[in-house]
Amino acid sequence: MDFQRARLLYKLVSKNQRISTRRHPLMSQNKAMKIFIFLFLAFWAVYLIFFGVMFAFALQETNYEPFDWINGGMVYFLLVDFGTRFILQETPAQEIKPYKLHPIPQNFLLNVFLMRMALRGENLFWFFFHVPFALFAIVKFYGFIGFFGYLLGWWLMYVLNGYWYLIWRTKMQRNILYLLIPASVYFLLIYFGFFFDEQNKWLFKGSMILGRAFCDMNVLAYLFPIACSVVLFFVNRKMQRKCVYDEIAEVERVTKVKSREMHWLNRFGVIGEYMKLEIKSAMRNKVVRAQFMIGVIYMLLFCFVFAFTNIYDNQPFMKTFICVYCFACLCTMTLTSVMCAEGNYIDLLMSRKESVLSLLKAKYYFNILMIVFPMLFMLMPIMEGKIQLIEALSCAFFATGCIFPFLFQLAVYNKTTINLNQKVIRSSGRNTKTQIIFSLAALLLPVVLMYILVLCFNDLVAAWLMLGLGIIGTLASPLWLRNIYHRFMLRRYINMEGFRDTRS
């Protein structure tokens, strides 16, 4: 391919990528989401700027210079950066499909997509922290050359992290458990680099030296992330080339639950049948499966940090928050889009008497069963003596008796069908204003309520009160489920029209 054509194709594909970002369903279809994302980013930008300035001054009176602390903790920044990339970064194999039949060589496309990945704005997001920090902590030691050297070094590290992320993101398309590999790598690096030998924190010292070399504009220091990025670039290219065929064929591995394994649900009649449907839906549909897995990972992380670190010790608000959050996060993720999956076959449900009511009951019982997961995870902080069993139980019952009925109200108002086999990132673009408000309220209101109760009484009384409220709500479930069903039926024409209009 001659240079002129390569330049033209690069410009065209780059332009399309920019349009794609601008017209992403998350941004273009939903004003509320657009405002929410803007506020979210603005909040984090201000937050990071604040931290950047604060660290530059707060770390002055210590054994090391402030920039040594930040450079030394590089692996923590890269870990958080890795996590945030799940929100928007897609794999080139996903983006290549529409170009596959056009006269553009596939290798050229992969090169363009991978190169542009290095130039994406996400790699600069943490600069909201680094720029103010460097202005106050680096300039006075290294001048503006050191300032730019420091930023260039960190940018290269984020690019490297982006390519590293891409490898595992691609693997996770096949099996989400691949997430455990990068998670283990970060964990082992942090453990052996910081905690194993507390006298000789090799990772801290190594990153510190690398960071100083960035500030010195040492070419060899830059060669390290550049060389690693080049290696990962080619590893990614090879992997993506293989994945293109899978993406086009939409090859996926589904876990099939055999009918005989769910025999025990037969005793619940129609509701049991709908529970089988819920289980199959959770196992076989990308959106539902991903929501479930992300929820479980969040819960595990919170419980683990809470149980085995002292970060949240002596912070009663955070204790309450984590306890409630663990029980509320999974149901908030799944129930916010209650009935949206059923939008795909709502006409079938509506053609049978009270099948929507049976479905709602099945969903409720299914979500009650799912409470087992947070309860199991909560055993870690309970055994470590961080919380009491009664507190965990009160949160569990508060979830089934108060948070569930609150979220189930969305069954009346949701009228957008979700594409079950879409990636969870794309599907989230369909969230409505009501869903966003309900999910925020479901996560925050219980925390506020419990915190107020703790302030007014004490931990134990607050837990018993919440337990009582939860049990009442759970026992009253037949009543409020029927009420939701009646209100759903009153709105059925509006909802069904919405479901039909949004089917893909």
Partner: protein, 235 residues
């Protein structure tokens, strides 16, 4: 442009999706691929277009193996499904993109799009709508026009009559016939609509369980009877 398929076999698990020993589509032919669901029509298209890897065998367009080189894309146009559309573009932007990629000048693009005006029926362009927000029929039209815009010498269309209203189906038939007459291009169309296929095709190939079981020119005396009989017996 000639299409040759040699010893192609593709299985999904234990199911044989495609098993073709030797099959040639000669330049200028309009071939209709017919068969029931699961016969292997779409798999055949996907293998030819290098969208799936066959277990064995080779497909060639103009003598070039499609899995080993991408030169054939210069002379081939194809529409398989909406997943291959760049759906965040408007139809105008999409056609403009194809024109630039295929080195078509702006005035030539404008001229070529005018030829599709009747087919578009005023529902595709000038509406400031993204492709993803168009109806299924209009998406199909965008895909078909996109496949024909660079005047390919080989055109492959998978189920092109699906989602089209009767008037558009009629326009589509006329479009394919005149395109073949004027450019001498080879056209391969898969369809469940037997009437349309028999109307426009110069040759009909019947697939069953991935194998070619009948392959006749249109002037073959018993073509219609045999094909109809097959579908009646297999209903």
């Amino acid at each position: 442009m000639e299409l040759t398929i040699d010893n192609i076999r593709k299985t999904f698990g234990e199911k044989v999706a495609l098993d073709v020993n030797h099959y040639v589509v000669h330049s200028g032919e309009i071939v209709g691929l017919v068969g029931n669901n699961g016969a292997g029509k779409t798999t055949l298209f996907r293998v030819v277009l290098d969208l799936i890897k066959p277990d064995s065998g080779i497909a060639r367009i103009g003598g070039v193996p499609t899995a080993h080189s991408e030169e054939w894309k210069e002379h081939t146009g194809a529409y398989v499904d909406t997943g291959f559309l760049i759906d965040y573009l408007t139809p105008e932007e999409y056609f403009d993109f194809i024109a630039k990629v295929s080195n078509i000048r702006k005035d030539v693009l404008h001229e070529r799009l005018q030829q599709f005006e009747h087919f578009m029926n005023g529902e595709v362009m000038g509406r400031n709508t993204l492709i993803r927000n168009l109806s299924a029929g209009n998406k199909q039209k965008v895909g078909i026009i996109g496949a024909m815009l660079h005047y390919p010498q080989l055109l492959l269309l998978d189920e092109p009559f699906n989602f089209l209203d009767p008037s558009s189906q009629h326009a589509m038939k006329y479009l394919l016939e005149s395109y073949n007459r004027e450019t001498g291009a080879t056209i391969i169309v898969s369809s469940h609509n037997l009437a349309h296929t028999l109307d426009i095709c110069t040759r009909v190939t019947l697939l069953e369980h991935g194998k070619i079981i009948k392959d006749h020119d249109k002037d073959y005396a018993n073509l219609i009877d045999e094909i109809q009989e097959y579908f009646i017996h297999n209903s």
